[in-house]
C-alpha cells in the first residue's frame, strides 16, 4: 500500500516536471509585464495583439499552415496508396520497400536533412518551398503508412471481393468499400502529418529557402535576440493548434461514432 502511494507521488511529480514549463508558457502569455517574471503583474492580451499585428509572424504562420495542409494532403495520399500496395499485393522487394518507407523515422533528422540538401545541390536545385514540402512529406509519410497499414490489415479482403463480385471495378471498390472502412485511419494519418510538419524545426532550418520562416523557425530566430513575452503568446497559439486540432478531431470522431453506434451498437470507430 505504501509502495503504491510512493509510485503515485512519483508519477505526479514526473508529470509536473514535464508539463510545468508548458504551463508557464501558457500562463505568461497573458502576463502584463515586459519581462517574464513570477508572480504575474497583471492580466493582459496585449502580447496577442502585438502578435497578430506583427506581419513577419503572421507570414510565418500562414507559411506553416499552408505547408502543413499540403504535407498532410500529399503524405496521406501517398501513404494510403503505399499501404494498399504493401498490404494487398505481393511483389518482389516488398520488405525492402517497407523498410525504406519507414526509415525516415529511424534516421536522425539532421542526417536526413543534410542528405536531402546535398542530393538536391548535386542536382543543381536551389532550396525552395518545394524542397521544404518534399522534405516534410518524407518525414510525415512513415506515420501515415504505419497508421493506415495497421487498419487495412484488419479490413477483411472478403469485403473487397464481395464488392468486386457484385460488379464494382477495382476503383469503385476502393471508393465505396475500402476507403469508407479505412477513413478513421486516413483521418488520423492526415492529422499526424499536419502536426509533424507544423512542429518541425530541425529539418526546416536546413531546407527553408532564405527569407522564408515557419512558426518554429520564427520563434527560434526571435529567441536569439531576446525572450519577448510575444513568444509566449505565439507558443500559446502553437500549442492550441498542435494539441487542439487532434483533440477536436478525436472529439468529433467520438461524437459521430456515438451517433453511429446508437443505430449500430457493436461497431467501433477505430
Amino acid at each position: 500500500m505504501r509502495a503504491w502511494t510512493l509510485i503515485r507521488f512519483y508519477t505526479v511529480f514526473v508529470y509536473i516536471f514535464m508539463f510545468a514549463p508548458i504551463a508557464v508558457v501558457l500562463i505568461l502569455a497573458f502576463n502584463k509585464a515586459e519581462f517574464a517574471s513570477f508572480p504575474m503583474t497583471g492580466f493582459s492580451l496585449r502580447w496577442f495583439e502585438r502578435l497578430f499585428n506583427d506581419p513577419t509572424i503572421m507570414r510565418a504562420f500562414r507559411t506553416s499552415l499552408t505547408l502543413g495542409l499540403m504535407v498532410s494532403a500529399i503524405s496521406t495520399t501517398l501513404g494510403v496508396m503505399a499501404s494498399i500496395a504493401l498490404v494487398r499485393y505481393e511483389f518482389r522487394g516488398k520488405d525492402l520497400m517497407t523498410t525504406f518507407l519507414i526509415s525516415p523515422v529511424l534516421v536522425p533528422e539532421t542526417v536526413m536533412a543534410v542528405g536531402l540538401l546535398i542530393f538536391l545541390r548535386y542536382l543543381h536545385m536551389p532550396r525552395s518551398f518545394g524542397l521544404l514540402l518534399l522534405g516534410h512529406s518524407i518525414l510525415a509519410l512513415p506515420f501515415v503508412v504505419l497508421v493506415v497499414q495497421a487498419r487495412l490489415v484488419g479490413i477483411k479482403r472478403e469485403y473487397e471481393e464481395a464488392a468486386r463480385s457484385l460488379g464494382a471495378n477495382p476503383l469503385q471498390t476502393f471508393f465505396s468499400v475500402t476507403l469508407p472502412l479505412l477513413l478513421p485511419a486516413v483521418f488520423a494519418g492526415a492529422l499526424f502529418a499536419f502536426t509533424i510538419s507544423f512542429d518541425n524545426i530541425t529539418a526546416t532550418l536546413f531546407w527553408r529557402p532564405s527569407g522564408m520562416e515557419t512558426v518554429p523557425t520564427q520563434i527560434f530566430g526571435m529567441l536569439r535576440n531576446s525572450i519577448s513575452p510575444e513568444i509566449n503568446a505565439l507558443g500559446f497559439v502553437m500549442i492550441s493548434v498542435t494539441a487542439g486540432v487532434p483533440l477536436l478531431a478525436g472529439g468529433l470522431a467520438r461524437y459521430f461514432g456515438r451517433k453511429n453506434r446508437a443505430r449500430h451498437p457493436t461497431r467501433s470507430l477505430t
Binding site: 472478403e158 471481393e161 460488379g167 477495382p170 457493436t266
Partner: protein, 359 residues
C-alpha cells in the same frame, strides 16, 4: 443461369499444385458440392470460377463463353462467403442494392427488388438496419439475398454454413436448398462437411489433394465409392484387404481372410478392376452386433467388444475379431453392449462394396 464447365483446370502456388487438371461440369440449375478435407483444392476451384484466382492452366466456361480472362466484376456471379462479408458501414438495404447500382437498375425498381430479395430469404423489413444488428444466421441470409438479387449466372457458396451453430446450420441448410431450387440458379457449394454435402447436393465432387476423386450423386458416392479415400471420407467404414476370386451370377466374389468368400453386387464393384488385390468396404452402420446367432443369410463372425462410444439413440462399437478392430454403428435397443461382451458380428453381402487396392 448457365452451365459451368471446367476443362483441365489447374492451379499451382509456386511448387504446390493446389488443383490438378480438374474436369467438372456443373449442369444448369443444379446444386453441386465440392467436398473434401481442408487443403484439397475445393476453395481454390471456387475462387477460380469467381475470378479471384487466375488459373495456371485449363479453361473455365460459363454457358458457351470462356471466362478465364474476364475480370471478376464482369462475370455476373453471386458469392456467399463463410464470414458473410456484409459491408459494415452500409445498411442492409444498401448492401443488397450494391450490385444493382452497377447494373443500371432504375431507382424505382431497386427498392422493389431489394424488398423481393428480403422476402425470398424471409427477413422482410430490415432494410434500415446495419449488419451488426442482425444475428449470424440473419446476416448469412442477407448475404444470400445480396448475391441472388443481381440474378447471377452462377451462385458460389464458400462454406456459408460453417460459421453458424449446429441447430441453425441444419435449418439454414434446408432453407438454402429450397431457395436455390425455387430460383433455379446453378450453384457451386464448397464444404468439408459430408452430411451437408449428402443432404443438399444434386451432385457431389469429392476432392483429395488437388485431384477429383469421384463425381456422382450423393447416393453414388456414398454407396459406390470409387476408391478408399471417398469411402473413408464419407461416413465411417471398415475397409478390409481381400483378393478378387471371380465373378458369379451378377456378383464379384472377394475372398477375405476373416469372412471367407463375399459376393459383392456388380454395380457396387465397378471400380475394382481386374485385381487380384482388392478391398472390401462395409459401412459401420451395416455391421450388426447380436448376442446370439446372426439372422439368416448374413455372413457372421464372433468378436469381443473393445470400446463403446455412446451417442444417445446410436452407439459406435469397436469390435475385435482376430487381429483387427471393426467399427459398427447400431441403434440401441434396450441396453447397449458393454466393453468385454462377446458378440456375433454380421453383415449382408448386399451392403458391401468392392474397392480397388492401393488407393
Amino acid at each position: 443461369m448457365a452451365r459451368v464447365e471446367l476443362k483441365g483446370l489447374t492451379k499451382s502456388f509456386g511448387p504446390v499444385k493446389a488443383v490438378q487438371a480438374a474436369d467438372i461440369a456443373f449442369e444448369d440449375a443444379s446444386f453441386t458440392t465440392l467436398l473434401g478435407p481442408s487443403g484439397c483444392g475445393k476453395t481454390t476451384i471456387l475462387r477460380m470460377i469467381a475470378g479471384l484466382e487466375q488459373p495456371t492452366g485449363g479453361d473455365i466456361l460459363v454457358g458457351a463463353d470462356r471466362v478465364n480472362d474476364v475480370p471478376i466484376h464482369k462475370r455476373n456471379l453471386g458469392i456467399v462467403f463463410q464470414n458473410y462479408a456484409l459491408f459494415p458501414h452500409r445498411t442492409i438495404g444498401e448492401n443488397i442494392a450494391f450490385g444493382l447500382k452497377y447494373r443500371k437498375v432504375p431507382k424505382s425498381e431497386m427498392a422493389a427488388k431489394v424488398r423481393n430479395a428480403l422476402d425470398v430469404v424471409r427477413l422482410p423489413g430490415v432494410e434500415d438496419r446495419y449488419p451488426s444488428q442482425l444475428s449470424g444466421g440473419q446476416q448469412q441470409r442477407i448475404a444470400l439475398a445480396r448475391a441472388i438479387v443481381i440474378e447471377p449466372d452462377v451462385l458460389l457458396l464458400d462454406e456459408p454454413l460453417s460459421a453458424l451453430d449446429a441447430n441453425l446450420r441444419e435449418s439454414m441448410r434446408v432453407e438454402l436448398k429450397a431457395i436455390q431450387h425455387r430460383i433455379g440458379v446453378t450453384s457451386v457449394f464448397v464444404t468439408h462437411d459430408q452430411s451437408e454435402a449428402l443432404a443438399m447436393s444434386d451432385r457431389i465432387v469429392v476432392m483429395s489433394a488437388g485431384k477429383v476423386a469421384q463425381i456422382g450423386t450423393p447416393e453414388e458416392v456414398y454407396n459406390r465409392p470409387a476408391n478408399e479415400f471417398v469411402a473413408d471420407f464419407l461416413g465411417a467404414s471398415n475397409i478390409i484387404e481381400g483378393r478378387l476370386q471371380g465373378r458369379a451370377d451378377g456378383a464379384v466374389v472377394l475372398q477375405v481372410d476373416a469372412f471367407g468368400a463375399v459376393p459383392v453386387r456388380e454395380d457396387r464393384a465397378a471400380s475394382v478392376g481386374s485385381g487380384p488385390a482388392a478391398k472390401l468396404m462395409i459401412r459401420a452402420e451395416k455391421l450388426l452386433l447380436t448376442e446370439g446367432p446372426a439372422p439368416e443369410g448374413r455372413i457372421a463372425v464372433k468378436g469381443v467388444v473393445e470400446a463403446v462410444d455412446y451417442q444417445g439413440q446410436l452407439a459406435r462399437y469397436f469390435v475385435r475379431v482376430g487381429e483387427r478392430t471393426y467399427q459398427a454403428m447400431n441403434m440401441i435397443e434396450g441396453r447397449p453392449f458393454a466393453a468385454g461382451d462377446e458378440v456375433t458380428l454380421s453383415f449382408s453381402p448386399a451392403d458391401c462394396a468392392a474397392l480397388p487396392a492401393g488407393t
